[in-house]
Amino acid sequence: MRKHVGDLCLQAGMLQDSLVHYHMSVELLRSVNDFLWLGAALEGLCSASVIYHYPAGTGGKTGARRCQGSSLPAEAANRHRPGAQEVLIDPGALTTNGINPDTSAEIGRAKNCLSPEDIIDKYKEAISYYSKYKNAGVIELEACVKAVRVLAIQKRSMEASEFLQNAVYINLRQLSEEEKIQRYSILSELYELIGFHRKSAFFKRVAAMQCVAPSISEPGWRACYKLLLETLPGYSLSLDPKDFNKGTHRGWAAVQMRLLHELVYASRRMGNPALSVRHLSFLLQTMLDFLSDQEKKDVTQSLENYTSKCPGTMELITLPDGLVLPPVPFTKLPIVRRVKLLNLPASLRPQKMKSLLNQNVSTKSPFIYSPIIAHNRGEERNKKIDFQWVQGDVCEVQLMVYNPMPFELRVENMGLLTSGVEFESLPAALSLPAESGLYPVTLVGVPQTTGTITVNGYHTTVFGVFSDCLLDNLPGIKTSGSTVEVIPALPRLQISTSLPRSAHSLQPSSGDEISTNVSVQLYNGETQQLVIKLENIGMEPLEKLEVTSKILTTKEKLYGDFLSWKLEETVAQFPLQPGKVATFIVNIKVKLDFSCQENLLQDLSDDGISVSGFPLCSPFRQVVRPRAESKPVNPPEGSKPGDPSHVKTLEAILNFKYSGGPGHVEGYYRNLSLGLHVEVEPSVFFTRVSTLPATSTRQCHLLLDVFNSTEHELTVSARSNEELVLHAGECQRMAIQVDKFNFESFPASPGEKGQFASSEQLEEERQEARGLEINSKLDVRWRIPSLKRTGEASVEGLLNQLVLEHLQLAPLQWDVLVDGQPCDCEAAACRVGDPVRLEVRLTNRSPRSVGPFALTVVPFQDHQNGVHNYDLHNAVSFVGSSTFYLDAVQPLGQSACLGALLFLYTGDFFLHIRFHEDSRSKELPPSWFCLPSVHVRALEAQA
């Protein structure tokens, strides 16, 4: 037959002849209705035309084949299914053997050759003929495949896909499994050829599944896995998790998930658990959003199973065919939202010495300001945090994490990844409740060397998979810089005190952060020792310690030193080696105002006539000052203090600056603050203060109304050791005999010489100094026997100008001598009828001359009932004048005048020495002219 001749011609390379023969055979065969042969002839015609049109071949790799292989069907069949070819093609070929070639019809070359469109048409026709025979399926498939190749060259993908679509449905019954796989692979390959990547991936996957179909006795998992991997690009799936970090996931999640599951399964069956762990973790990481709760559970369950055999690592897995599987870090298990490097606690924060700091700044740039440098710094600051970590100290990084899983997530071995400094990360294990909200996790570590440390990320172990998560790769993470400077090691100090810790924290206005707070309750005036134990709990010796205190501003006026200490004793124990303890003692002394209320101080003008319990019986009470005219009515004594139970608080901060070790060399120190909270309960109040002149001009009586505001019995004692017992809430008057003070000699007076701008300030200072002096002389102490607590009371706050003036020793010192003996307090005795010599002596201590003065002696009798009898002309007579004249007295000079008295009757007489009004210089204060009264007891003349 012609067809066979055409075949032979084609094989012989005689294209023209073969075309002619094919045409003739087609004509012949059409008439005989032999469709199988007709199809074959058409196919042959097509093949010849293709060779003519595309001498280079239909495909890159098959090009050579087309040129040398004239029998295209056989050739293609050979390649695809060598076994089947003989059976199906050769019978047809053999039957044609007997037909003689008819070479009579010579058809023109151009006419014989099919146009490209015709080729396809003929192919179609051929295929339709083939399809009429069931056992011609293989040939049909081949024809399809060939047609597709031709179409691929013609870039007619749509039509090619139709052919392929048809090819898929060609029913091939007696195919072995291997052939099936090959068939699918070829289909996939062809789809790839026409640019249908998805289709290609689909068939590749089918092929892969065929590899491991249950009917196969020896499943080819390896081949399956390989084929599956090849499908990945078709499903636009990359095994690099980095590709998934950009925004939301986009792709065919369900399909991709399926593929990943298959990959996992295949790799497991391949006997490569590491691979399956990698794929599974990839599945979990990338597809987390698409997994249902149940699936999440299942996936993690199986992941845990695999990792129990082979833990997941961060190494690259390289497949034999060169594909590299990058590691899959679980950045979503848990999801980290924020990373924040924490400063050291306030007490451990290193601080730089000022001077060194300045040096550093100055060495950075020779310019004071340069915009370029400022710009650079700004950039640096983006990453760098402006605090330091200390070598050898535990440093913290806080992560805000949450668990997206519907079950409890156990994260183990969570630690920090750092660079720049040797860093010992202390891993933490945490368990996050199901679908937790943001959950703070603190990762800690110890820097071992100094330098600049950068926190790059963290590592975790979840479900047995190790992951290193780098912060740079995490989406949607907030970080406030990750670079910190690590400075050399410093010692650490721990403070423990003898006082109980208090929950009460100081007002934050101070700006310092207090590490420890202690509180104590004291009575006003009490002193307590605070023993502070300083323990060096660091690794470096403590070399330097400075203590400062800061009293938080209170409205209360504080007298005396609130806190006092001696640092020398403590420093003597230095350097403090690690683990050693040093003690440091601070005295707390609370001395607040002992005066009760402001308005009560006005009552100072009260002369104190209603004296109760006056211990020192002064025989005469004299009104020293005129009563204040508009004096308010005294409230009843018992209920006098307005709010006796009012507790005042004092707060102070003790700052310990310490340093040592290499950090000290670098100029760093640490600051530890101890907050001190003192509750001051009132102990005693001086509700009123007044003075009474004593019998001697050099002394006077200070009257204090003492009020016991405690709930306990309280004794008050002054310098003179008199103890006054006060019951709770009782108020008593107490008199203390004090020497008058010569304030002029105080060191406060130098202020007078200086040019103080503010005279008020000067006056205040002087008054304070006086108060201090008086207080030290008085030494008023109180004691609560039941509580065994003692303290002192200070009168500083309540002494006012008037009282002070009275307590002041006048610069003019008047002495009255009776019979040559100074007469101060005791009565001088004399006999009736004898003249008594009276001498008035003036010593001038003031810096200027005074006088001259005229003095008149007025005798009187005190009837002890407030009545003074001045009408004593009959009882006392003067020898000489009753008026004395004193000359002007120069500074530091002395002057005296003499007179005599004659007492005519026995009795107690008093002599009042009076100044003549005119002689007194107005500019001198009245208290300077305070002459003692003279008490003379005239006795019966002895026989």
Partner: protein, 139 residues
């Protein structure tokens, strides 16, 4: 009548895919996914034509034994793919066309929602119910 309706974004990832619950969902996923090849091919072929006069309806993408896959592409290259049962011969090309048009207008409504973030999965209830109505019509 439709057994599966899918909306696919310009970048060829699904915005919405829904199939009749009785069938294997994954199968339809594969089917729609592979049909994208044809869609791409058709679009590239059409690319030469004038954009305005372009026919949005792509027609039958490819038939399988049990189903026919139809495609539709908007001017912004958002693709709608519908899988119908091939046994349902009553379904005319025109009906498919009108269904796609309905789908398109519903999708436009979704995009008009100011709270919808273009590129996200479609979670609109109105859209969902519309798709449901399309699927139930005959089934």
């Amino acid at each position: 009548m439709a057994v599966c309706v899918a909306v696919i974004a310009k970048e060829n990832y699904p915005l919405y895919i829904r199939s009749v619950p009785t069938e294997n969902e994954l199968k339809f996923h594969y089917m729609v996914h592979t049909s994208l090849d044809v869609v791409d091919e058709k679009i590239s072929a059409m690319g030469k034509a004038l954009v305005d006069q372009r026919e949005l309806y792509l027609g039958l993408l490819y038939p399988t034994e049990d189903y026919k896959v139809y495609g539709y592409v908007t001017n912004s290259r958002v693709k709608f793919v519908m899988v119908v049962d091939s046994s349902n011969t009553a379904l005319r090309d025109n009906e498919i066309r009108s269904m796609f048009r309905k789908l398109h207008s519903s999708y436009t409504d979704v995009m008009c929602n100011p709270f919808y973030n273009p590129g996200d999965r479609i979670q609109s209830r109105a859209f969902d119910s519309m798709v449901t109505s399309m699927m139930i019509q005959v089934c």
